[in-house]
Symmetry: C2
Subunit: 465 residues, 2 copies
Amino acid sequence: MNDVVAKLRELLGSDCITDPALADGYLSDWRGLLRGNAACVLRPRTTSLLSRSVRICQEAGVNVVPQGGNTGLVGGSTPDETGLQIVVSTGAMKKIRTVDPVDMSVVAEAGATIAELQSAAAEADALFPLSFASEGTATLGGALATNAGGISAVRYGSARDLLLGMEVVLPDGRIWNGLRTLRKDNTGYALKHLFAGSEGTLGIIAAAAMKLAPLPVGREVAFCAVETEDQVLDFWMKLRAAADGNVRAIEYLSGSCVELAKREGLRSPVEKADHYVLVELTSSRPEAGLKDMLEAFLADRLEDGTIVDAALAQSGEQQKQIWRLREDQTEVQKKAGRDFKHDVAVPVANVPELLRRSRADVEAGFPDVTVVPFGHVGDGNIHLNVVLPAALGAERAAEHGRQISQAIYDIVLSLGGTFSAEHGIGRAKVGLLESKRDPVELDLMRRIKSALDEDGSFNPGKIFR
Amino acid sequence: MNDVVAKLRELLGSDCITDPALADGYLSDWRGLLRGNAACVLRPRTTSLLSRSVRICQEAGVNVVPQGGNTGLVGGSTPDETGLQIVVSTGAMKKIRTVDPVDMSVVAEAGATIAELQSAAAEADALFPLSFASEGTATLGGALATNAGGISAVRYGSARDLLLGMEVVLPDGRIWNGLRTLRKDNTGYALKHLFAGSEGTLGIIAAAAMKLAPLPVGREVAFCAVETEDQVLDFWMKLRAAADGNVRAIEYLSGSCVELAKREGLRSPVEKADHYVLVELTSSRPEAGLKDMLEAFLADRLEDGTIVDAALAQSGEQQKQIWRLREDQTEVQKKAGRDFKHDVAVPVANVPELLRRSRADVEAGFPDVTVVPFGHVGDGNIHLNVVLPAALGAERAAEHGRQISQAIYDIVLSLGGTFSAEHGIGRAKVGLLESKRDPVELDLMRRIKSALDEDGSFNPGKIFR
């Protein structure tokens, strides 16, 4: 191993990190739940150096753990405990190669952050549509490797849907140059879609070409109080038809979520209810009349009883206040006790049933637990989180958490849903994938893994055991 | 082989076709350019029968040629001449299992036609967004296997973009049940995207779940005369920002295309020009004000000189007349002489250069040739067709055609484009794929093919030699 590290240091100089203090941040996950070790951490600055680094690892039979911004929530980029793996970060490959507002595309290296891409696009009077909580740290490569979703997926899709082309370093060090910026290209298998969402198990995304969208000039935000789960869905159905593609975000918050936020000093602009919906409309047409449209829509929904109260933000400041109720959930839930996260999705039509059954089942079995579901209702993607009392103790909480998770995943699967909507499998959900998915599907995935990573040297223990 | 056919007949009865008269339609391609042979043609009625049919073929080592509506343009579903292959049509699997306007999804078997899916969705007050010339015959399975594009891809995407889940019969007869209707599902590799566009070389799509969209209630169609290639692009850029997602179609027609159409008795509502653009806007909002918006937009473009003339259809009849100029191109080009088709795409920003260079190069080298490009300018996808004089004779025309094709593909590739935008590779473009694509990319595709179709028994000679 010393020999390999020496070769890598010769190639990369100080971008081959062996100093424990400097390597530290690359060895644990975002939430601090996992901690690994590594022979070294590599931060190559070009695709060519990345390729040569991987080749050195491959020739020595050393396993590689690809890493982007390291903001994932399932431990997909954390090395194991042996210290025999090498972390390869694309964080130093940050060049934004082209931003083309005519072609409506951006070509950037894997280490550019989502926020940097948003800024670069905005400077060219265009929108980089991907947007999620960790966008200041999360990178393009990581977002694609995990097919990140987020707030605006209901309008623009997940990372995969914005993907035009890719440059990938393969497990044997070869470079696949698929960096085309075409809207249509039916020339063989959709390799880019295979690497997207493969969580570093098939290759390292070195650069990508992504779609941009026209920059919105109008933006309206509203917050609504809703009495029942069915009305939440009904509201979305009506809005979907009325707003005709202008819905940038439609987020659900349970009454319990808003109560937790209030405890931390946030204020809700509507009366107390069991359910809430946050709506954001955007348009690139200055004269789109979004505000009139949303105002009329909300009046109609109050009239027909779909909602019981509504607040349409009258200023940018009010928009921010409404958004904080949603964006601060991770933080307020963490403060409320021991939080367990479940990133699930069901067919949109089954969201009410998911909310009802999970709350009923969990509260019946564990009376001291608070169910705090929120998320992307337009995509059927609910973060079905629960908070256990801090007083419960770590061990009992973990045991209760396991039982609750199992109950929730069973409900989700019985409703045609998935146990990972936008976070991926990583290390955390390997067991779930293995036990809950059709053996034929697992066999197909293993065949592909073997075909592209013959030695199994890329991110072992992730997705597959 | 007699033994295999006997077993298949025992399984499928008269759905195992051996009568030459009945088999005939399955043995040649849509355009009548290719003609093959087969031991029999199978039309199983269920996924289970399809699976058992494939298993019988696999056990006997017989090659299978999957077929949908057989409307492809690259010979992807035509068997070879040996008579040793078996055509497996999904045409008899026509059940539309569910249409869910709440979930905005449809689950249907592979043999349902695109038009049948459009009707089923419309009955549920929703839109099945895929739309192209052969939609009355083309099937869901075929559209997905070739990732069909078409007229409205600029708004709703190609077949792949509408795909939620899939049921697939694998080359060994196993069934992969991936028929989920989820908007987000990050649980391992994107198998559905691998089968989509794989042209029957990895499996047979038995059923699929697809996205629906809100049904448009407003529709406006306009036809514009434009002086230069750059203005065509400029027009699209301005419309893209102004219409904010309401553009259902933006089609380019060269002056030569419209002249050919006029010769066949069609009428253009605008003055003669070198270039034309057809626009269709749609909205699901009754009060979207599309007509006012388009009227104002066209007035502004006349004012700023982007276009020289415009006609906004004032009735459904006028809309139809405008669309005929575009939709009849295949027919009028066929009548004009010997037509050679090039389904190419370039980055949208390179469309003007593509149009200029291809016309200049082809007309310089072959003065008696008419270049008749048209197509989906918003996707950068131009059908860069040429018409050779009928008087040229078949042999010389074929030779000229080959030279012209080569010149066009060279221009396309030099502009970062692709030699197959929406038609696929099939049999017709195997040589192009092999010679023009990066060897690393080809190697990755071959590895996947071997991993999923170990015996190479599914659609041999298609995509790969």
